[in-house]
């Protein structure tokens, strides 16, 4: 339990998907113009990450790993395709739920809701969990932690960008240019956390 909690904290703050690894930038930059859409997308990403991580873990351990189904059969070359298929189905599910529950949010997210499927952080997260050989509980903690980290980062930059609308920025930098520079500064700020191990504080 303690190890899972450490992984959760690490994934959310120290190994932040956006600010430390810069995965998932496309939707991060495009949807962060208002806090409302950022919250919507962030919650969707937490859900998708939290659900796909354990499912992909299970597929990898029980289907693909060396000798998992039949002794001596290694199916790891199918990993990418199966992971993407799971992620795509989960995103389709989220899309249907959001369309039913909040059509306004569905319309404002537009193309970026289905684009969660190709959000590097989702596939990257699953690949990290596999390469770091997490156990089942740890992979759920990692998924939820990464999602939370992504959510916090996109809220932070959405809030800053909303405030920036009334700031005096050179016309050529307005919008995208300043968002990039901001993210760079946030990334450098988060580098101060690099190498911290939550386990040391127990």
């Amino acid at each position: 339990m303690g190890e899972s909690f450490n992984i959760f904290i690490k994934a959310a703050f120290i190994d932040n998907m956006i600010l430390a690894y810069f995965l998932g930038m496309c939707s991060y930059l495009a949807v962060s113009k208002t806090v409302k859409t950022a919250v919507g997308l962030g919650l969707a990403v937490i859900f998708v990450l939290g659900m796909t991580m354990p499912i992909n873990w299970a597929i990898n351990t029980y289907l693909l790993a060396d000798g998992a189904i039949i002794e001596g059969v290694n199916l790891t070359f199918l990993r990418l395709i199966l992971f993407i298929a799971v992620i795509a189905s989960m995103v389709q599910l989220v899309e249907m739920v959001i369309e039913k529950v909040s059509p306004a949010l569905y319309n404002s997210l537009g193309i970026f809701l289905p684009l969660i499927t190709v959000n590097c952080s989702i596939l990257g997260g699953s690949l990290f969990a596999v390469s770091r050989e997490y156990a089942f509980g740890e992979s759920i903690a990692f998924g939820l932690g990464s999602g939370l980290g992504w959510f916090l980062a996109i809220i932070a930059i959405a809030a800053i960008r909303e405030k920036l609308r009334t700031a005096d920025i050179p016309p050529a930098l307005r919008g995208l240019g300043i968002a990039f520079i901001l993210t760079g500064l946030m990334g450098m700020a988060f580098m101060s956390l690099a190498g911290l191990n939550p386990a040391d504080f127990n």
């Binding site: 496309c26 993407i84 499927t117 596939l123 050529a172 995208l176 993210t183 580098m191």
Partner: protein, 216 residues
């Protein structure tokens, strides 16, 4: 004859005006990285060296052009409910081919790029162009659109890599070009610096062409 000359211009042909537009727009006014905000993840991670950027760009041009062509050929027979899965399977197949080819012919690039070749599957440019263009246009146009967007991406990536490698490591493609007295700029080696470099590129691009300025 005057009539045949007029008829030929209207047909457009293989590389008519619209087709050249598909190749030229993504280089500047509709650039996938700086205007459409796609393909950022890899643009940040592989621009540490010009060699990696070049290999990544060639890989992306290949995947984007061929997947656009294939999806455009299939566009009328894909059921709407599973279109994303079909697109992903096509892209995944092409990326697997790229990965194996790189492993065989350019092993040092394969080693350096490792995860990011696989992440071409999730590169927003490929999916974005399939959804926005290939699903509704003819095969040759879709192919050119894929090539054009790949070239636009490659242009930005190599430009960023030249800046980052020159100032951060003092080299170009591994050959030292900065004098020995030059103190290496370690900021340029950090991944965060690519964000600053892109920001400055966008600044330059929009200052040079005010029609691209964000008016919202």
């Amino acid at each position: 004859m005057a009539e045949t000359v007029v008829a030929k211009e209207k047909k457009g042909g293989l590389l008519g005006k619209e087709e050249m537009k598909l190749l030229k727009d993504p280089l500047h006014s509709n650039n996938p990285v700086t205007i459409q905000v796609l393909g950022i993840c890899s643009a940040l991670a592989v621009t540490g060296s010009v060699y990696k950027s070049l290999v990544m760009s060639i890989a992306l041009i290949f995947v984007c052009a061929l997947s656009s062509l294939i999806i455009s050929l299939l566009r009328n027979s894909i059921p709407n409910a599973i279109r994303m899965i079909v697109q992903l399977l096509v892209i995944a197949g092409l990326v697997q081919v790229v990965e194996i080819t790189l492993g065989a012919f350019a092993y040092s690039a394969y080693e350096q790029l490792s995860v990011f070749i696989g992440l071409i599957i999730t590169n927003c440019i490929v999916m974005g162009r399939l959804e926005a263009f290939a699903m509704g246009n003819k095969p040759w146009q879709a192919f050119l659109d894929g090539v054009g967007n790949g070239l636009g991406y490659g242009f930005i990536l190599v430009a960023m890599a030249i800046v980052r490698e020159m100032f951060g490591k003092g080299t170009f493609m591994g050959w030292q070009i900065m004098p020995d007295a030059y103190v290496l700029n370690n900021l340029m080696v950090l991944p965060a610096s690519s964000l600053f470099v892109i920001g400055v590129f966008i600044w330059i691009q929009r200052a040079a062409d005010p029609s691209l300025v964000d008016k919202s």
